[in-house]
């Protein structure tokens, strides 16, 4: 019967997939370590993670092509956990006894928090988004940008400077807009205290749902309350949508919009609507826009992405993670040798690479026994004439994490 045939086909499909269960491939019996990425390629932050991941993967490929780090190759296992804790934890448990699992990368805060105790138990360092909680913990987790609140602090510093430069007295009034989720609120844990400390008047924050159609409501309200600067915290393309709404409302002239780290990039807005983004400022922990295009590595990696040049900001940031890992691995291999190489060795090594650079993609590496930030520097960019142009050099972020009571 036809039905049976289809069922058989279905069973065969299932079996094929079952055989695919084992992703170990590519690297043979050489010396290698495993790098596990538990990321989200399909959810709300896919816009970042995908190119982020590509940058990382390309760098790892590059390192492997060059013969590895002192002969040790890196085997990346990069999984899509679809924003689900149980999937991520399950994946970790499957791979934790994997050959020399020395590093884990995570892109979702919730997953990071769930995994953290397990990774500590297994002594594997784990890289998480810039959540202040982990910096405060000073544990096995390192953040892959300055913590969000630090960057928010740096942005407020920039606002104060800009306010002064324009010849205004006193301190500016700052509005805050963020996603109505943990990520959107993160900036204020510490950011709020820092605003108090430097005397900036921070308006009541506005939160908008993920996937919101229009943002006019919150923008007009902040404007009505007298905000001169509005900090927008969400990931692209939602940030870009906020900016476009601000443009439609005619707000771009009298209010300065500042986008957080995952905000406006060329791909997610500026390339499509140059006139609408004109004048927006972006606080960025890594190079982007014209800088990224001009970066030598961007050209070098063209061969891995046959389609288009890697101008995405997060692509470069992903690469900087690869560079950092390469450096730490190098130190670790030198310290303990390949035989004894494990997560703990990498963890120790990570704390020794303070001050090294990531080929100019980010500021100097800031990992140390008292810091779990990959870097403490940010750079400010402005959208001018359809291009993202730097307006400052690297600026050091204030330590706002320590201001918050965790």
């Amino acid at each position: 019967m036809e039905k049976k045939k289809l069922l058989a086909f279905f069973g065969a499909l299932f079996l094929t997939m079952a055989m695919a269960f084992n992703p170990t491939s590519g690297i043979g019996a050489e010396k290698y370590v495993t790098y596990l990425g538990l990321e989200d390629f399909t959810g709300p932050i896919a816009g970042i993670t995908v190119s982020f991941n590509e940058g990382l993967r390309h760098h790892i490929n590059y390192v492997n092509d060059q013969g590895g780090v002192d002969g040790v190759k890196i085997k990346p296992i990069l999984l899509d956990t679809r924003y689900d804790t149980s999937r991520a934890v399950s994946a970790f448990k499957r791979y934790r006894r994997e050959h020399k699992l020395v590093f884990i990368l995570i892109t979702s805060t919730g997953v990071g928090k769930a995994l953290y105790p397990l990774t500590v138990r297994d002594k594997v360092p784990i890289q998480v988004p810039g959540v202040g909680y982990f910096q405060n913990l000073l544990g096995w987790a390192i953040t892959y940008a300055p913590p969000y609140q630090d960057m928010f602090g740096a942005s407020m510093d920039w606002m104060v400077d800009d306010w002064k430069k324009k010849g205004n007295p006193g301190k500016p009034v700052v509005g805050y807009m963020g996603w109505d989720n943990p990520f959107g609120r993160e900036n204020l844990l510490g950011g709020r205290e820092y605003a108090e400390k430097i005397g900036v008047k921070l308006l009541k924050p506005e939160y908008y749902p993920v996937g919101s159609l229009k943002h006019d409501l919150w923008l007009t309200r902040l404007k009505d309350y007298g905000a001169k600067y509005i900090f927008v915290s969400g990931t692209d393309p939602e940030n870009s949508n906020v900016v476009r709404d601000a443009y439609a409302l005619g707000m771009m002239k009298d209010v300065q919009l500042i986008s957080g780290v995952w905000g406006t990039t060329m791909e997610t807005g500026v390339a499509f609507h140059p006139e609408e983004f004109e004048g927006e400022v972006i606080c960025s922990p890594g190079i982007r826009g014209v800088d990224a295009r001009a970066h030598p590595l961007a050209k070098l990696w063209k061969r891995y992405t046959k389609s288009k040049p890697p101008v995405q900001f997060s692509y470069m940031l992903g690469m900087s993670l690869g560079i950092m890992f390469e450096k730490a691995l190098k130190v670790a291999v030198q310290d303990v040798g390949y035989e004894k190489l494990n997560g703990e060795a990498v963890y120790r090594a990570l704390q020794k690479i303070t001050g090294e650079d990531t080929k100019g993609i980010t500021g100097p590496i800031d990992l140390s026994p008292t810091s779990r930030r990959i870097t403490r520097d940010v750079k400010f960019y402005r959208v001018t004439g359809g291009k993202i142009v730097p307006i400052t050099d690297w600026r050091r972020c204030p330590d706002t994490v320590s201001l918050h009571k965790w």
């Binding site: 390629f41 399909t42 959810g43 709300p44 896919a46 816009g47 970042i48 993670t49 995908v50 190119s51 109505d180 009541k204 924050p205 506005e206 939160y207 908008y208 749902p209 993920v210 996937g211 919101s212 159609l213 229009k214 006019d216 409501l217 919150w218 007009t220 309200r221 009505d224 692209d236 393309p237 939602e238 870009s240 949508n241 476009r244 443009y247 439609a248 409302l249 005619g250 791909e267 997610t268 807005g269 390339a271 499509f272 609507h273 609408e276």
Partner: protein, 294 residues
């Protein structure tokens, strides 16, 4: 007062889009008794096809629109033909799950197209706002709002007076009975899915005017479901009204309550409204009360 009016206008404009999604879901429900969550994908793909023909190939807007409707119509037809037709005679919730599976399948395809990025449709309606007596009226949205009302009117007339409309209404009541009177229920299902896909695509295109095409498009389908339920699953005017109410309520409640409870009201307002409406009027504002006989 002027803030209130401003919220009202914003809500109305957003509500127009919601209403269209709602209408497309109601259309399918009326005829096939299937509640579809896949319409979010139809909306997303409608926007994508429009981008493809208008933005990527640079065709004139009218031709691009027609091609887009054609493409989305084919897609709706294929979904009905391959996924939902085998579900005739199965429990309703299984059919809902099928639409959900369709949603997941197309979600993958959609993400494949996006590759984690966005697609920006070039400007086809003005993006600035008009200032009328201190109120901001987004021009492009106002135009698409008027157009969607027109679409709604056409559908309403078709249902009421045309022969196909009569057939659709008959099909909606009882499939077996409709067949025994010579209505091709299968054909009717296909027609309804095509029409409904086009309506969803129109919603998608008017969304693409406001925000670029990105991953969250399909989730507008859930808003559409809420609208359909609030209005009553069988009622077209209900969907229209439900959409407008939802849009207005979201904006007004977020406008006035956000500062009090500390944000995030807009998202939850829809669900609160749904709960309240279901408690007060169990089958929606205009839903049919079943004629029950024991």
């Amino acid at each position: 007062m002027s803030t209130f009016l401003q919220f009202l206008i914003l809500g109305l404009m957003e509500g127009g889009v919601y209403a269209l999604v709602g209408v497309s879901i109601v259309l399918v429900y009326k005829a096939t008794k299937t509640v579809s969550i896949a319409h979010g994908q139809l909306l997303a793909f409608g926007a994508f096809f429009f981008y493809l023909f208008f933005g990527y190939f640079g065709l004139p807007i009218i031709i691009a629109l027609l091609l887009c409707f054609l493409a989305i119509g084919v897609m709706g037809f294929v979904i009905e033909r391959l996924a939902l037709r085998p579900m005739i005679g199965q429990p309703l919730f299984a059919a809902f799950l099928v639409t959900f599976a369709v949603f997941v399948v197309f979600d993958g395809v959609f993400l494949l197209i996006l590759k984690g990025g966005i697609l920006g449709v070039p400007k086809f309606l003005p993006r600035e706002s008009l200032l009328v007596g201190g109120l901001r009226i987004p021009e492009g949205q106002a135009i698409s709002f008027v157009l969607s009302m027109a679409v709604f009117g056409i559908i309403g007339l078709m249902f009421r007076y045309s022969k196909v409309g009569l057939g659709m209404r008959a099909t909606a009541e009882d499939h077996q009975l409709a067949q025994s009177t010579g209505i091709s229920v299968k054909k009717m299902f296909s027609v309804i899915w095509v029409v409904s896909s086009v309506v969803a695509a129109i919603a998608g295109i008017s969304t693409a005017h406001v925000i670029d095409i990105y991953y969250s498009y399909p989730l507008l389908g859930i808003k559409g479901l809420i609208v359909a339920l609030v209005g009553g699953l069988e009622s077209l005017p209900g969907a229209l009204l439900g959409g407008l109410i939802l849009g207005i309520l979201e904006n007004i409640s977020a406008g006035y309550l956000d500062p009090i409870v500390g944000g995030g009201v807009k998202e939850v307002a829809a669900y609160f409204m749904l709960l309240v409406i279901l408690l007060v009027k169990p089958y929606g504002l205009f839903g049919l009360v079943r004629i029950e006989r024991i």
